[in-house]
C-alpha cells in the first residue's frame, strides 16, 4: 500500500464514521459537529485527488460559513430528543432496506465495465494549476450554467427575505441618515451665564 492510499483510507474511514454518527448521535449539536468532521475529511480526500481548489473551497464555504450558521440555529433549538429516538427505531428497517438497495445498485453500476468515470485521469505536471484551469473552464465552457446558478442564488435571497422579513411597527431602527444629520445645536445648548461672585453662592460648595 502506498502512502497516498493509506492516507485515503484514513480519510475515508473518518468520513464514513462521522457521517454515520451524524444520524445516530443523540445531541443535535454533536450531529452538526460530526457533519463538520465529515466535510473536513472529504476535503482531505479531494486534496489527495489533486483538487486543491475544491478541497479548500469546501472547507471555506461549508465548514467556515454554512455549518457555522447551522450550529447557530441548532444551538437555539430546544429539541425534545425522545420522540426523535422513537422514530429512528421505527423507521430503521425501511431505511436500512433502502440503504442496502442503494449499496447494491452502486456496486452494480460501479462494477459495470462501461462505467467511463472509473478510468484514471492522467497525472499532471508540477506547474499545473488546478485553480486556473477551473477558472478558465467556468468562465468559458460553463459560463451559461454559471450565470444560471447566480440567478438561483438571487432567487434564494429574494425568497429568504420575502419569507422572513416582517415589518414590526414596534421595532426600533437605527436611522443613520438622521444620526449623521444631527448638528450640535440640536442636542447641546450653551447657556451664557453671568459670573457669580463667591460670596453670593453658598459657602459649603467648596467643601463638597
Amino acid at each position: 500500500m502506498t502512502f497516498e492510499k493509506f492516507v485515503f483510507y484514513v480519510f475515508a474511514l473518518i468520513t464514513v464514521y462521522a457521517a454515520f454518527r451524524v444520524i445516530t448521535v443523540r445531541n443535535p449539536v454533536h450531529a452538526v459537529l460530526h457533519l463538520v468532521l465529515a466535510f473536513f475529511s472529504s476535503a482531505g480526500i479531494w486534496l489527495l485527488a489533486e483538487a486543491e481548489f475544491l478541497g479548500i473551497t469546501l472547507v471555506l464555504v461549508y465548514v467556515g460559513a454554512v455549518m457555522v450558521l447551522f450550529l447557530f440555529v441548532v444551538m437555539m433549538l430546544d429539541v425534545n430528543l425522545a420522540p426523535l429516538r422513537e422514530g429512528f427505531v421505527r423507521y430503521l428497517p425501511v431505511g436500512g432496506a433502502i440503504g442496502g438497495l442503494m449499496i447494491l445498485e452502486m456496486s452494480l453500476i460501479l462494477a459495470s465495465r462501461h462505467f467511463a468515470a472509473a478510468k484514471a485521469l492522467p497525472p499532471h505536471g508540477p506547474h499545473y494549476s488546478n485553480t486556473r484551469e477551473l477558472g478558465a473552464l467556468l468562465y468559458t465552457d460553463y459560463a451559461y450554467p454559471f450565470e444560471i446558478a447566480a440567478f438561483i442564488l438571487l432567487v434564494a435571497i429574494v425568497a429568504a427575505i420575502a419569507l422572513t422579513l416582517r415589518r414590526r411597527p414596534d421595532a426600533r431602527r437605527q436611522q443613520v441618515g438622521e444620526q449623521v444629520r444631527v448638528r450640535r445645536q440640536d442636542r447641546v445648548r450653551l447657556v451664557a451665564m453671568a459670573a457669580e461672585s463667591r460670596s453670593a453662592g453658598p459657602a459649603e460648595e467648596e467643601g463638597s
Binding site: I56, V59, V63, V68, M75, T131, Q174
Partner: protein
C-alpha cells in the same frame, strides 16, 4: 526511507523555527499592549517584574499555568476541553503559507490565499463550541454574537481578497508580494485602498478585538464565550487571539504593503528586500490594533451587523467592479503587468 525521515525532521524544525518566535511575539505583544495603552491613558503600565517590567509576560504565563482548570459540572466535558485547541489550531496552521522572504516559506502552495481564508474562518469554531459547551447563558450569548459577526465579516474579507487576487493574478502569497515590486506606490494599498481598509477592519472584527469585541463584552455579558474558563485553558484562548492578531497584521503587510519588499526600492542597502521589512510592517499594523482598543468605545451589536452587511460588502463589490475595469483598461503602474500575467 531515511530520506523521508530527514524530510519530516526538517519540516518539524522549520515549524519550531516559526512557532517559537511567534509565541514569544504573542507574549511580548501582551506586554506591549499594556504599556502602549498605559501611555495613551497617561499611566505607566506594568513595571514591577524584572527591569522595566520586561518579565511581566513570563510571570503571567507562570501564574496561569499553576492555576486549576475548572470544568463546570453541567458542561460537556469533551467539547469544553477541545474548544481552546480548536481556537488555537487554525491560528497557528495559517502560518504554514506565510512567506517571510522570497522563497522563505514552509509550504509554498498554489492556493495559499484561499488556504489562509479557510483557516481564518475556522477559528470561530473554538469560540462557538466554548460558549456552548460551558452550559452558561453568557457563554452562549457570546457564541451567538461571535458566529453572526464572523459570517458577516468573512464575506467582506473574502471579497477584499478577491481584489488582491485580481490585482496579483495569483493565489500564491509569494507571487502576490512579487507582483507588488517597485516601491511604496506600487504596493496594493494604493490601488486597492477601499479593499485594504475593509480587509484590515474586518480583520479586527474577525479577531474579536475592540471595538468589535462583543463576543467577550465584559461590561455586558461578563466575558462572553470564555466566562467559565480558567487557568491554561483560558490562556490558550488568549494565545489564539494574539496569534490571530499577528497573523492578520502579517497578512495585511503581505497583501497590501509589499511583504518583505523595501519601501526605499532602488536605494542601496536600504532598498534591499528583507525579512526585517516584513516584521516592521507587521509591527506597524499591530500598533493599530492596540491604538483602536485605547481609542474607540465598543460598537453596539446591531451597528456591527450594519457595518458588515450594508457598508463593507457593497463597498467591496463596487471596488471589484472598478478594479475589473482598471485591469481591462490596463491602468498603470499596477494593472498593466497583472493583465499581462492573467492573459498568458
Amino acid at each position: 526511507m531515511v530520506e523521508t525521515i530527514w524530510q519530516v525532521l526538517l519540516i518539524l524544525i522549520k515549524i519550531v523555527v516559526i512557532l517559537v518566535p511567534l509565541m514569544l511575539g504573542v507574549a511580548y505583544l501582551t506586554y506591549a499592549e499594556r504599556k502602549i495603552i498605559g501611555y495613551m491613558q497617561v499611566r505607566i503600565g506594568p513595571n514591577r517584574v524584572g527591569p522595566r517590567g520586561w518579565l511581566q509576560p513570563i510571570a503571567d504565563a507562570m501564574k496561569l499555568l499553576m492555576k486549576e482548570i475548572i470544568v463546570p459540572s453541567n458542561a460537556n466535558r469533551f467539547l469544553f476541553v477541545i474548544a481552546p485547541m480548536l481556537s488555537l489550531g487554525p491560528a497557528l496552521a495559517a502560518w504554514a503559507v506565510i512567506p517571510f522572504g522570497d522563497g522563505m516559506v514552509l509550504a509554498d502552495i498554489d492556493a495559499g490565499l484561499l488556504y489562509v481564508l479557510a483557516l481564518s474562518s475556522l477559528g470561530v469554531y473554538g469560540v462557538i463550541i466554548a460558549g456552548w459547551a460551558a452550559n452558561s447563558k453568557y457563554g452562549l450569548l457570546g457564541a451567538m454574537r461571535s458566529a453572526a459577526q464572523m459570517v458577516a465579516y468573512e464575506i467582506a474579507m473574502g471579497f477584499a481578497l478577491v481584489g488582491v487576487l485580481m490585482a496579483a493574478g495569483s493565489l500564491n502569497l509569494g507571487a502576490i508580494v512579487r507582483a507588488q515590486a517597485g516601491g511604496v506606490l506600487h504596493w496594493f494599498w494604493l490601488p486597492l485602498l477601499p479593499l485594504f481598509l475593509v480587509y484590515f477592519i474586518s480583520g479586527v472584527a474577525e479577531t474579536n478585538r475592540a471595538p468589535f469585541d462583543v463576543a467577550e463584552g465584559e461590561s455586558e455579558i461578563v466575558a462572553g464565550f470564555h466566562v467559565e474558563y480558567s487557568g491554561m485553558a483560558f490562556a490558550v484562548f488568549f494565545l489564539a487571539e494574539y496569534a490571530n492578531m499577528i497573523l492578520i497584521a502579517a497578512l495585511t503587510a503581505i497583501m497590501f504593503a509589499g511583504g518583505w519588499l523595501s519601501p526605499f526600492a532602488g536605494i542601496p542597502v536600504l532598498g534591499a528586500p528583507s525579512l526585517l521589512w516584513l516584521l516592521a510592517k507587521t509591527a506597524f499594523f499591530l500598533f493599530f490594533f492596540l491604538w483602536f482598543r485605547a481609542t474607540f468605545p465598543r460598537y453596539r451589536y446591531d451597528q456591527i451587523m450594519r457595518l458588515g452587511w450594508k457598508v463593507f460588502i457593497p463597498l467591496t463589490i463596487v471596488w471589484l467592479l472598478v478594479e475589473g475595469v482598471a485591469i481591462m483598461a490596463r491602468v498603470g503602474p499596477w494593472f498593466d503587468h497583472a493583465a499581462a500575467a492573467a492573459g498568458s
